[in-house]
Amino acid sequence: GDNHATAKTSNDLIAYKNVNDLPPPRELMIQVDQKNEAILLPVYGTMVPFHVATVRTVSSQQDTNRNCYIRIIFNVPGTPFSPHDTSSLKFQGSIYLKEVSFRSKDPRHISEVVQQIKTLRRQVAARESERAERAT
């Protein structure tokens, strides 16, 4: 039934199964792994993966000192159209990472990352809604 299909959607969104599936460590900077639909964020010297489906919005801005900033807002329960409604019920009581912001030395890299995340997010969202539709 469709109960099964909705449960499957949230379970499926797993970036990596094993630690060694992560891309080889490179420079400490935000990376997008298209194949695994993940973004990797440098936090205290470690690359931390997030599935792109957890991302709600991504934006960048530049200040007068030519510093560049990127802000990633994640899905949390209680926001409209959140695709995690099934999982937030299942994981009630959890704490959510809501937002991260980074300063970058490389504005070109940041605008690339923003574009890549937006494109990947659209692709995954389209596929998931198609899958949900087919299941009903």
């Binding site: 969104l13 797993i14 970036a15 990596y16 199964k17 094993n18 630690v19 060694n20 599936d21 992560l22 891309p23 080889p24 460590p25 420079e27 400490l28 900077m29 935000i30 993940a38 964020l41 440098p42 936090v43 205290y44 010297g45 470690t46 690359m47 931390v48 993966p49 997030f50 599935h51 957890t54 900033y69 990127i70 994640f74 899905n75 949390v76 329960p77 209680g78 995690h84 999982s87 937030s88 994981f91 009630q92 009581g93 959890s94 704490i95 959510y96 990472l97 809501k98 937002e99 991260v100 912001s101 980074f102 300063r103 970058s104 030395k105 490389d106 890299h109 940041i110």
Partner: protein
């Protein structure tokens, strides 16, 4: 293990990214030196209160927690180093390293653990990431459910990384009972 065992290509991780260096283990404790000189970390074995191992992509990470709450993270150990160092910590310090697991599922929901001055975000009992509250310059409560942590910024921020974490926020739903009425919440 004989006195003065050396491990090359061990990086020290922290707020500003990672620094490559060399770790020396000796009867008195451990000593890490940055490649090319400069920063060094010396830990007397009597000050070590906890040791952890975690498998990270393609290598192993050693966590050393000391009395004052600091937690050093050294990355770059081979599997055989893990075995020999585990024996060292057991024999010289009387401490059995704990094994931690890294969360790679990519979820953004889990639990927040506070230990010393470390804040750990756990996903399904595995560690997603860890930050030091010593580096937090300001915390803010936004609305009823969101906590924002802002990190210190200075000239050395991002010395060894291209992108540096500036701010992080957590959403704590009303259904969460862990931090209800806890004034020590970050």
């Amino acid at each position: 293990m004989t006195d003065g065992h050396l491990f090359n290509n061990i990086s020290l991780g922290g707020r500003g990214g990672t620094n490559p260096g060399q770790l020396k283990v000796h009867s008195g404790g451990i000593l890490w030196k940055k490649q090319g000189g400069g920063k060094a970390v010396e830990v007397d074995k009597a000050d070590i209160v906890g040791v952890t191992w975690m498998k990270v992509p393609r290598t192993n990470q050693l966590g050393v927690r000391i009395k004052d709450g600091l937690n050093y993270k050294f990355t770059g150990f081979r599997d055989q180093d893990v075995t020999s160092l585990t024996i060292f910590f057991q024999n010289s310090c009387g401490i059995t390293p704990e094994e931690k697991q890294l969360s790679v599922s990519g979820r953004n929901w889990g639990e927040v653990d506070l230990n010393g001055n470390m804040l750990t975000f756990m996903v399904g009992s595995k560690q997603a990431f860890e930050v030091s509250l010593a580096d937090v310059s300001q915390t803010q409560l936004q609305g009823k459910n969101d906590v924002i942590l802002e990190f210190h910024v200075d000239d050395t921020t991002g010395a060894n990384e291209k992108d540096s974490l500036m701010e992080i926020s957590f959403h704590i739903p009303n259904s969460n009972t862990q931090f209800v009425g806890d004034e020590n919440r970050p």
